[in-house]
């Protein structure tokens, strides 16, 4: 039940985008088309899961035993950057269609603060291994939900008469704000 709560909370209540403000860049950038947004979401979920595993291992097997907590930032970012690049190359080699669907979003993920944020938050909250993984998957799905909803709305707004200065990022942020309002209805559901 704890795990389920954690999972649902990561998706709805403590949504990475709408609550933690993580991954805003791709959230604004790759949310113009639903298909792209969904692929991006899936790619992020995938990388988040991997990162959750890798960062937990680094943190608990190397950094903590040696008392090197302060190297967290450097080593996490190294892990993520290399991991993403390896995965990209691997996918490109193994499955070109998958690369077309997911791989092209991977470079963008390297500098995506959602991934780094996940590693840091998981370390900060002292989750055990299983919890870290669940947290990773849930957060990834939460990101996917937010970005796909956003892309649906933006596809519709593309056809709307949005005031000129607000077109693009402006209206997207306002929509995100109202989405955050709507999502806040779930607060209190999970303590």
């Amino acid at each position: 039940m704890d795990l389920l709560t954690l999972f649902v909370a990561a998706i709805l209540v403590n949504n990475f985008v709408l609550y933690y403000f993580l991954g805003i860049c791709p959230f604004l950038g790759v949310s113009k088309k639903i298909d792209a947004a969904f692929s991006m979401g899936m790619a992020v979920t995938f990388v988040m899961t991997l990162t959750a595993v890798a960062s937990w291992m680094i943190n608990h097997w190397i950094l903590i035993p040696f008392g090197l907590d302060y190297l967290q930032i450097v080593s996490f970012i190294l892990v993520i950057a290399s991991l993403v690049q390896l995965v990209e190359m691997f996918i490109r080699k193994m499955s070109p269609p998958l690369y077309q669907a997911l791989g092209i979003y991977l470079p963008l993920i390297t500098t995506n603060c959602a991934i780094m944020g996940l590693a840091l938050l998981a370390a900060l909250k002292n989750y055990d291994f299983i919890k870290t993984v669940v947290f990773g998957v849930g957060s990834g799905l939460g990101f996917t939900l937010a970005i796909v909803l956003m892309s649906g709305i933006r596809e519709q707004l593309d056809l709307a008469d949005v005031p000129e200065p607000l077109k693009g990022a402006g209206i997207a942020l306002i929509v995100a704000g109202i989405m955050a309002l709507a999502f806040s209805g779930f607060s209190g559901m999970i303590k």
């Binding site: 403000f21 930032i73 450097v74 990022a169 704000g177 109202i178 955050a180 806040s184």
Partner: protein
Amino acid sequence: MPPKKSIGAEYLKGLWNENPVFRQLLGMCPTLAVTNAVINGIAMGLATAFVLILSSLVVSSIKKLIPSQVRIATYIVIIASFVTIADRFLAAFFPPISKALGPYVPLIVVNCIILGRQEAFSSRNSIGRSLIDALGMSTGFILALLLLSSIRELLGSGSFLGHQLLGSWFKPWTIMILPAGAFITLGVLLGIALLIESKTKARSV
């Protein structure tokens, strides 16, 4: 390569024309996350400026030594080191602020402003120019954070830097210090920024 700008222009472009937040839409995560109070915004801005300026200095001074295949990785390591220093410094001397900023100080490492400037500017320009550029960008970033956090703190708590400014008649808009308020305020500010831009452009043509 575009024609060289004067030193002044190189500095000023970060304030408006290439303002990282309002014009380039970079570094949105910290911009939104830590601006619920002015003090947090300033601290974040300063920390980012510290990292940006020092990384720019280092990158521009060793730019010839870095092989191009691993340049991004190298930049990241350099940035990460300075971020660690900033993080530790805040934790040691300003624990409450460090606590308030939470994971967002370490997250400076993935702030696109910093990496973007290294790739786009420091790796191609002299140390002096990079320094000016980094200073300009930092100022632009700090100003953006200051603006956003002032609005949010003023409306959300009726105060500025913790001092109660608005009288008791004012009912604070709690929403402004919550995520929804952050998004909406920034969205509206972006709209205003673009509006000003298009107005000034129309006049200059």
